[in-house]
Amino acid sequence: MRERITFVQKLGDSIDPSTLKVTDGVLSGPEVQAVLEDRLTIALDELPTELHTLLNSVHELHVRWVSPVAYEAVSPLLSRLPPGFHLFFTPARGDVDASDNLCPTLAHVFGDIACSTPADSFTPLQNDRFSHSSAFQYFQPLESLSHFIAYAQDQLCPPSDALCAARLNSLVLASSLDLSYDTISHTLKITALWPYQKQAVHAISWPELRTEVGVLSGEIPPNLEPHEVGLAGLLTVLGQDTKPSATMFAVPSRHRDAESKFSARFLEPTGTHPTLQIQLESNKPPSGGSYCSAHAYFTLPKSIFADKYQLADDLFLASKNLTALRYISQPVDLEAPEYVMKQWGSAVLLELSPPKSDKPQPWTTEVPLHLRYLAPSPGGYENIQVPYPAVFWACTAEEGTKFPTNPFERVNLGYDGLFGPRTVFWHVDPRPVSGSNRITNTIKVPVLDLDKAGWVNGVTAITVLVGFAWVAWKLAAVYVKSGYGSAPSSGTSSQIGDKKRQ
């Protein structure tokens, strides 16, 4: 088991090396304004049996939870995903049916995970174009890690170890959590990220755990290539080093900071065909030289979807400041109600169409979506949470640029596999709309009100019977007057009737 703790400050925020103290395997220092990343690398046989068994049936598995509470990120820990519970998965030997224990295990570890089996609930990913993409995708909104924290405390901490429980408890404030496994490394990497905020530099070494602590900040080293980011700071291996050692390096990075913001909200009234309006701060692409285009990547829960046929007309797209629907996971049922859908929902990549103007200007784009019918419930309304999309400029790096794995970078994000290997993602920072701290939107969906449904069956049946009886009565009247014969005879009989009356 290994641990890597990294404090990452913004460019120019470096700390004085003398303020860091290393004593008896404990590193302590001042409070810094930084993002904290804590990565635990665990060998397969060190895991609880349940997870060990599960990962044996898996070729590749990435679980990525992102907090619905807005948070600030810092380069190079910038790769964004919509808030919620993401899963990217490739089964061992390509046999998706062998992983039927995946969903129950995930529910056991993370709590309210609603998938049934990978075959039913997951969507296939395009893994033919770029080999690094996993085979299947799953997503659902997940409010917090509380269930995971309880599970981890139960599995990892000895009953009397309050410190262990407290450390895990700090995940309550984490902005994201990643669990990554693949058969090549045979290890599970658990990475937690805490948002950019004031925090004390503090780390303790644990028995049987090699802990490396880095206190880094953005830096511009000499000869920095355009596709690289520079970092400088202090590294300490706890229990081994007696004082931090200085370091400076540059790493190629596919995820960069576009240094602008966006927010998203649904236009009122939402109705059953809600429109998500994305408000962007700037229409200027981040890097002047290369070709860039703005994109929004959505993971839409099954209660809401985009219609690819509606998003095929250029005039319609242009009227919404959209360029094209670049990708939508398949299949997307256009008719089924939410409560019969087994599949998780759909992933959508839209290319946005910023206004062409020389001066930077704020702009909006509108994404037409459609609600599915939800199951009837008391009160007549159900709230659904729709996560913000990840919004970024995709820019093409120079010919021949290579992006070898960088120690802070994630692959398998759902959208990275949809772009070429030379693409750099310049992330636009998601900001909540005023009065909220969340990067999700709530829609109040009208449903059949169960409180009023008591009379439905009876009154419908009676009404249909009344209607039927009325029509049958009219038919009977015709039959009694003139039988089922042809019209002239009816004329005769009515004439006879007239005569009688006369």
Binding site: L448, K452, T460, G467, V471, V478, A487
Partner: protein, 476 residues
Amino acid sequence: MAQSSVAARSASASAGDQTSARKKKRVSFAAGSAPPDHPSAASSPAFSALFQRPLPLYFSAALLRVGLLLYGLWQDANSPLKYTDIDYLVFTDAARFVSRGQSPYDRETYRYTPVLAWLLLPTAHVGASPLWDAVWFSSGKVLFAAADLVAGWLLERVLTSSGSGLPGLDPVAARKFAAIWLLNPMVATISTRGSSEGLLGVLVMALLSAVMARRVTLAGLLLGFSVHFKIYPFIYAPAIVWWMDAERMGSGGADKKGSPAPGQNKSKSSLISRVTTFATPARIRLAAVSLSTFVCLNAAMYICYGPPFLTHTFLHHVTRIDHRHNFSPYNTQLYLASAFPDLSALRIESVAFLPQLVLSCFLIPIVLAKKDLPAAMLAQTFAFVTFNKVCTSQYFLWYMVLLPLYLPRSSFLKDGKLGIFALSMWVASQGLWLHQGYGLEFLGLSTFLPGLWLASLGFFLVNCWILGIIIADVLL
């Protein structure tokens, strides 16, 4: 009564003395001074000139459609809100798949016979200029609009014929009633927006006109094809079969004199003899031709496209949940039942077809078909749509094409107040529903209960009331 079967054999022959008085009364009512409350009542010289000869009517009907088509092209090219119906994009996408040698069912939500995609193959044509491509793309709408005109012409033919045993109208009056279909802006809009319902209109009118002309084989082919095309025309089979008795078809039995209830006179005869009397050559031929047309078409499509053909064209209608709001009285109940399949003790969806089929396939044909086949078919369609598990406004077109055949004899035209009242009830109850639907769809209000539900029940009852009048009117 012998003369009625003679008259029946030649469509244009005048009826005998016995009914001539009644006929004269009807014709003069419809042709001379049009009923005061009817929309076509405004009889300015220009207006009546429209009906004196066929050309002005069909020309203006065609002009209306050309105008709408061009307007549609303009709107589609210039507005993000499209004139073209979403279904037309489904058909043309499917045609594009077919043109590439793929299955039309590769297009999601294509739930029609492959024949439709084949008919629209020209829409998939891509040439050099975008302008010509747009013309090719619109060719399907041209087809649907042309089908409207043909359906209107067939309407006129059926209206002037006395084939059903009832006297025909004179051509001018017939054209006035055909105009209800031909110049109806709703009909023209639906077909030029690219909805295929107009094709059904022409098929059903062709079927009816073939039956009235005693062209049994042609009628069988059309019936088999229509049912393959859209399923619902199967309801016409019992009516047509019942109508085609030996007396009417002139294959012997002319001496039976069309007694009110032939069966009753022969109550003591054996079952076998009754069956053999019923199974006339015409009926057997109709059954054989229509059934084999239907089976052959389906077999051919199955060979071409395999199980997806069956799944999407037919099985879809069996398995669909119908949870989305529509005019059907069953809608709210079906939404409830689909969400809680275990709770409902009596599966409403498994008995809902009973009142619908009992009326439209059994009671209405038996009582009405021999008296007035077009009115019977109208009543059948009306009952089928009213009692259906799903009901949307495009289904109204199914009976609208038959309406001009019934109106000349209807109490809605005889008693203008009743007509206006019925029409306004029909429109108002629909408006009420649409108001609730607007609240749901656009404002996001939970109007399912009680608003939408009561509105759909109200609309249902209004429809039942109208249907009752249509039924009673065969005795007028």
